[in-house]
């Protein structure tokens, strides 16, 4: 997964070097993006919500993002984001790469379970792809993108001690699940 993220960043850097001649120095500006995404993979289809805040300069964007990822196991991604736009027309193609951690968020059903206690451990999170940025006005834009996304989720389920037995129950009373999800992601959003 780390290799994939690194490859995506390298890909963007290569594109940057080929368009170096088109550099147009601009001042640093704060930008935000909010997207809704459709995730499709072996487990099925699910929804992704994410928002990213950061700064942009010379067609580069860097920032930090978070959101909600409902694919397989509900998680909250926390990630660093880098984006490269190619050109400055009204409709501009771009490439992006996000990398960080996925934090598990137990569902109400898991919390209500009387026999097991669930604890989610952070796992890796990344996504990368390409898209188009359709500028509207006042620096706002509509974003359309498609890419590949992966996340790891590690869950520890501990068998609760028997009620009325206040001492620790002997033996290992837990099990761990390590999930690796790989999905295609299509996002629609806006930049502000």
């Amino acid at each position: 997964m780390i290799k994939l993220v690194a490859s995506a960043i390298l890909f963007i850097c290569v594109l940057q070097s080929t368009s170096a001649q088109q550099k147009n120095i601009t001042p640093l500006r704060f930008k935000g993006m909010a997207c809704v995404g459709l995730l499709n993979g072996q487990t099925g289809q699910s929804v992704l919500l994410e928002t990213t805040l950061g700064v942009t300069k010379n067609n580069w964007f860097g920032g930090l993002g978070t959101g909600l990822d409902y694919y397989g196991t509900r998680t909250i991604p926390l990630f660093a984001s880098v984006q490269k736009r190619f050109g400055s027309n009204k409709t501009v193609p771009f490439a992006f790469a996000n990398g960080g951690v996925a934090l598990g968020w137990a569902t109400d059903n898991q919390k209500a379970n009387k026999f097991y206690e669930y604890k989610a451990l952070p796992g890796a999170y990344f996504d990368g792809g390409i898209g188009v940025n359709i500028n509207t006005c006042n620096g706002r834009a509509i974003l359309l993108s498609a890419g590949y996304s992966g996340k790891q989720v590690v869950e520890k389920a501990t068998l609760l001690p028997v009620r009325g037995w206040p001492m620790p129950v002997a033996g290992n009373n837990f099990e761990t699940y390590k999930y690796q999800y790989r999905r295609i992601v299509i996002k629609v959003g806006f930049q502000f």
């Binding site: 993979g41 487990t43 390409i130 590949y148 009620r163 206040p166 299509i186």
Partner: protein
């Protein structure tokens, strides 16, 4: 330009999706501990219920103090017999192998213990020659294994082989199936209590009162007639609702701690105790002890106990039909408790053992906090407080309340 860019991007996206479609396989790995039962013939198990050479304490359970001896449960394995003639140097003398045992109570020279669903009676008149006197079969029917495991009924499980395993669960996306562990650790719980003959902890699930042995399960009270101590007879089973945790006998009453409140039963009709009242509280765990005027209930939160309350409730029980709260005191995570005279001992989890002057229940005064261990239960008698803790069995002398001091520790040695 715009149309071309969108078309190109769409084409690349489709291409990307097609190329990566082989990379869309999700995976799942499940790591868990498998338990394989080790069986022995029932006759062989029964023949081995006697003084055997001592073993290290590794999974300490509940305890019972009788005279100079401490009977300390080794969870699901049996009972350590500890000679405590000299509290400064307790001697772990014997181990009684009782598979499935978690509770103990003593009636004169007879020790009662659970052995999975059976009740065993041991003659302890000579602690150096403890013998099995009787087995009453299938009286704890609630004792079941977790995860739907069914043991071979013709044999008895004496141990478990343990193995960690990781399997690919990609092909079984039913998450958290109902059978998670072959963890056959006993359902139930139990323990001791018989202040007139010995001293048990506040987390007891066995209680002796007026020639009757009362045991509580998750939802019921079992009443055994022990007029003939060697031959306990199950007389009655009363369903009293779910969440029952502990039982504490005092005078002719039974104080029963449940996770929703404290029940008071009288034993005028010993074989059919009658509920006199209930003192409700939020859903938490609540060991209880009592004296002539007051009941002391510790309420604690935690994974099993749920809830968020951690406190001591002092309840006026002068009128057993109408118990009333006197005052609550905040604690970190209070577990077992014990009282000797005006001294109140409370195990406060990771904050150790706390000692109070409870002469005035409206203003209980802290005297000493003994730290450095995670305490679960305490028995205070004869100026010695015996504390069951995560890392061992501690003994503190309170002969001088201004100088409560550690006199010994039997360490727990994990396997």
């Amino acid at each position: 330009m715009k149309k071309t860019t969108i078309t190109t991007t769409t084409f690349v996206a489709i291409l990307l999706g097609t190329l990566l479609s082989g990379c869309l396989k999700d995976s799942c790995y499940r790591t868990f501990t498998m338990y394989k039962p080790v069986y022995k013939a029932r006759a062989e198990v029964r023949a081995n219920i006697k003084n055997n050479p001592s073993i290290n304490v590794s999974e300490a359970g509940k305890m019972f103090v009788l005279g100079n001896y401490i009977f300390l449960n080794e969870i699901d394995k049996g009972i350590h017999v500890i000679d405590n003639s000299n509290p400064a140097a307790p001697i772990n003398k014997y181990f009684i192998n009782i598979p499935g045992n978690v509770d103990v109570a003593v009636n004169g020279n007879i020790l009662y213990a659970d052995m999975y669903s059976d009740l065993v009676a041991l003659d302890i008149s000579d602690p150096n020659n403890i013998r099995l006197s009787n087995v009453v079969e299938n009286v704890f029917s609630q004792r079941q294994f977790a995860g739907g495991f069914v043991a071979d009924q013709t044999m008895m499980i004496v141990d478990w082989e343990v193995k960690d395993t990781t399997i690919d669960c990609s092909n079984n996306w039913v998450r958290r199936p109902s059978v998670m562990f072959m963890d056959a650790r006993s359902f139930s719980g139990a323990s001791m209590a018989a202040p007139t003959l010995g001293v048990g902890g506040s987390m007891a699930r066995f209680a002796l009162l007026n020639q009757y042995l009362y045991t509580v399960t998750e939802s019921a009270i079992n009443v055994f007639d022990v007029t003939q101590p060697v031959t306990p007879i199950l007389k009655n089973t009363l369903q009293i609702g779910w969440g029952i945790e502990t039982i504490y006998p005092f005078k002719n009453n039974l104080f029963i701690g449940s996770n929703t409140g404290m029940f008071i039963f009288n034993t005028v009709n010993a074989e059919a105790p009658q509920q006199q009242s209930m003192f409700s509280h939020a859903t938490v765990c609540d060991p209880v002890i009592a004296d002539d005027q007051y009941a002391y209930v510790t309420l604690r939160s935690g994974t099993t106990c749920r809830g968020v309350i951690n406190q001591l409730d002092v309840i006026n029980i002068t009128n057993l039909q109408r118990p009333t709260l006197v005052r609550s005191y905040a604690f970190k995570n209070p577990h077992g408790l014990s009282k000797d005279g005006n001294l109140l001992f409370i195990c406060d989890g990771t904050e150790g053992l706390k000692v109070f002057d409870a002469a005035n229940v409206n203003n209980i005064q802290p005297l000493k906090t003994l730290t450095g261990f995670e305490s679960f239960d305490v028995i205070a008698a004869n100026k010695i407080a015996i504390v069951s803790a995560k890392d061992g069995l501690y003994q503190f002398s309170y002969a001088d309340v201004n100088n409560i001091r550690l006199v010994s520790k039997v360490s727990i040695i994990k396997k």
